[in-house]
Point group: C2
Chain length 192, copies 2
């Protein structure tokens, strides 16, 4: 198609921002019905409703199978979650568990490999963690201040850490979720 | 060292969460003095102070060379930016430009390759964008609703898009920044 236009016109067309129609995203019904990436997100006592909503939005974008909301983690419907989820709280499948241990038990029974995202003595640096495309993974994210509880880290199969090179001790949990989801989704995108 | 302990003790030690002392992060002075990754972040009229602060925090973690705050993008000092930057607004080098065009001109003069992060007709999907470790890149992020301005996209050398598989049209801009910084930092981490 592009060959039909002079080069400078091609450049203009190629640079044009997509409209909402061009993006052609799923409706909530289409999304709920379609096959998901084999990725679960576990929120181990996340305090901030903004972070929870943002993680819903990223989970929608990366076609997450389910979110487990655990302990003090708030659940939809919530005006505050909606502000950052922008409706993704209605598309992504979620379950509430009183404790994170119960969520992990259910996920393990469903064949998920459990990955705590924490900075531990022996944690694997994210770039070294190879994702098997046919394996199911649960990404466990922890409290904004205290991180993933030590007993939960001990229960997981892997502990993965995002390497950091600055002054701060950690990344925001919603940013962490985005980077992890991208890393795990990459294995699926290759086959999409 | 690990060989000195029985296996189950090794497992316990390996799983132990690092303390703040274990993390051994840079002080603000150490960070300001050290060699950065050849990555700049350009904020093209970002509205939310929370997002600006969060992008400072991620830029600190991924050792960003500089941030250009453009147009309506607020600048430190700001109580609201501090809430999510947590002090990273004092470690990461930043400059304010009245217009994004001026920021891009300065960055291009300094040898940066300009990458608009937008969903365009001909944008490159992030996983296909190979980062040259010895090249300097500026990542241009746009307004929460309107994205990167079309004239700014036209000025850039590349337009890069994060592929998405859900119902929402975009990711949060601070999450987008985190994913992009991770992608560009990876080329540096390999040589770190």
């Amino acid at each position: 198609m592009w060959g039909a236009y002079p080069f400078f016109i091609e450049c203009i067309i190629m640079n044009l921002k997509k409209t909402i129609t061009d993006l052609n995203r799923d409706t909530t019904e289409e999304f709920r019905a379609k096959k998901k990436f084999p990725i679960a997100v576990v929120l181990d006592n996340i305090r901030s409703l903004n972070n929870i909503g943002s993680i819903f939005r990223s989970s929608d974008a990366f076609c997450v199978d389910r979110i487990a909301l655990c302990g003090i983690t708030a659940t939809p419907p919530s005006v505050e979650i909606h502000k950052t989820a922008l409706g993704a709280e209605n598309s992504v499948n979620w379950t509430y568990y009183p404790t994170t241990a119960e969520a992990l038990e259910a996920l393990r029974a469903d064949g998920f490999t459990l990955c705590a995202i924490e900075q531990c003595a022996g944690s694997i640096s994210l770039e070294k963690f190879t994702v098997a495309p046919d394996r199911r993974y649960a990404i466990v994210l922890g409290h904004e201040v205290y991180g993933v509880d030590q007993t939960i880290v001990d229960t997981c199969d892997y502990c993965i850490e995002i390497p950091q090179f600055g002054t701060k001790h950690s990344l925001n949990v919603a940013v962490t979720a985005g980077i992890l989801l991208w890393h795990f989704a990459l294995a699926q995108i290759a086959n999409h």
